[in-house]
């Protein structure tokens, strides 16, 4: 199975891109193209005619094969997230919603209780629910049970670039889940995205690492290759670790015998 299946949708790219923090809309659009992504996140914002560049719906819909996944950023409660989801669906026409509820602006850690409540309602309403969650296998399972189409544990804090700090917990979630596990947040370099894929994640969601790179378009391409490499490596069957050396060349004794 080479495509990423989320709800009734399938994607050949396993790299999901965030569209925040780019220096300009033009650079963001180029990075989206270079990444080959088919699913991008966007956020609701108040209309301001003096900041026309903020409105990404038009420019993103001109790129073929892109599906929007609005997030509920800004919501501090389940009620607010549900409201944001309804408005977003109206605007995007997309059934995807990234449920993101973080009440504390200092650490941006997701609120598991409000997230669970919001996901339960939104999944029942027919959304393709993609919750951003702490790397907690119990919560992940509960979200799967209420109909989420994936679970998206954080590698580390949003925008921190601390990589897969929660690697062991992500591994546990992968082992227990029957829905795709997607590492969302904290990734800093393509090697970390590759590692996430090798450990069994079905996709990664990257924003800051690409947006704030010196050359975002080139970095988008690098992440795309790393995600693909990690996925292929996992399917190829990664060799087991050994506690001691195992020779790759024959250790015959004829050299010693000849002297």
């Amino acid at each position: 199975m080479n495509s990423l299946r989320l709800g009734s949708y399938s994607f050949s790219s396993r790299l999901i891109l965030g569209t925040g923090k780019f220096s300009s809309t033009r650079v963001m659009l180029e990075a989206v193209r270079a990444s080959g992504t088919q699913l991008v996140t966007v956020a609701l914002r108040r209309f301001n005619r003096n900041q026309a560049e903020d409105d990404l719906f038009g420019p993103l819909s001109e790129i073929r094969g892109i599906t929007l996944m609005p997030n509920t950023s800004g919501a501090a409660t389940a009620r607010e997230a549900i409201k944001a989801a309804h408005i977003s669906r109206e605007l995007s026409g997309s059934p995807f919603i990234k449920v993101e509820i973080h009440p504390n602006p200092h650490h941006l850690m997701p609120d598991p209780i409000e997230t669970y409540e919001a996901c339960k309602v939104l999944a029942a309403e027919g959304f393709i629910v993609m919750p951003y969650i702490p790397a907690d296998p119990v919560l992940a399972k509960r979200l799967e049970d209420v109909g989420c189409s994936s679970v998206m544990p954080l590698g580390s804090a949003i925008g921190s670039g601390q990589g897969l700090a929660n690697a062991e917990m992500v591994r546990l979630i992968v082992r227990e889940s029957t829905v795709p596990v997607i590492v969302d947040a904290g990734l800093r370099s393509p090697s970390e995205a590759c590692a996430a894929m090798e450990m069994g994640c079905e996709a990664v969601l990257v924003n800051s690492a690409i947006a704030v790179a010196r050359y975002p378009v080139a970095m988008a391409g690098a992440f795309a290759k790393a995600v693909e490499a990690g996925f292929e490596a996992r399917n190829a069957g990664i060799m087991p670790r050994s506690g001691s050396a195992v020779a790759t060349s024959p250790l015959t004794s004829f050299l010693g015998a000849a002297s």
Binding site: V42, R45, R46, F47, A185
Partner: protein, 70 residues
């Protein structure tokens, strides 16, 4: 011409009495081709209802777009 006050995106704004949501979008210079969501007092006003939806004094109106986000 009589006017009413609404709260538009968190700020007080005077608009003509009996203005519709569609009229408000013209006043706020939303380009016709631009996709926006309109929420009045927490209710979403879909595009096909914007001509007939007449705003009332003290209505809370949000006009929203998609911006960059992760």
């Amino acid at each position: 011409m009589s006017t009413i006050s609404i709260i538009l995106n968190g700020e007080c704004k005077e608009i003509p009495a009996s203005a519709s949501v569609a009229d408000l979008l013209v006043v706020t210079e939303v380009v016709e081709s631009q996709k926006v969501a309109v929420v009045v007092n927490e209710h979403i006003v879909r595009p096909d209802k914007r001509n007939s939806f007449i705003l009332q004094d003290q209505d809370q109106v949000e006009i929203l777009v998609f911006a960059g986000g992760g």
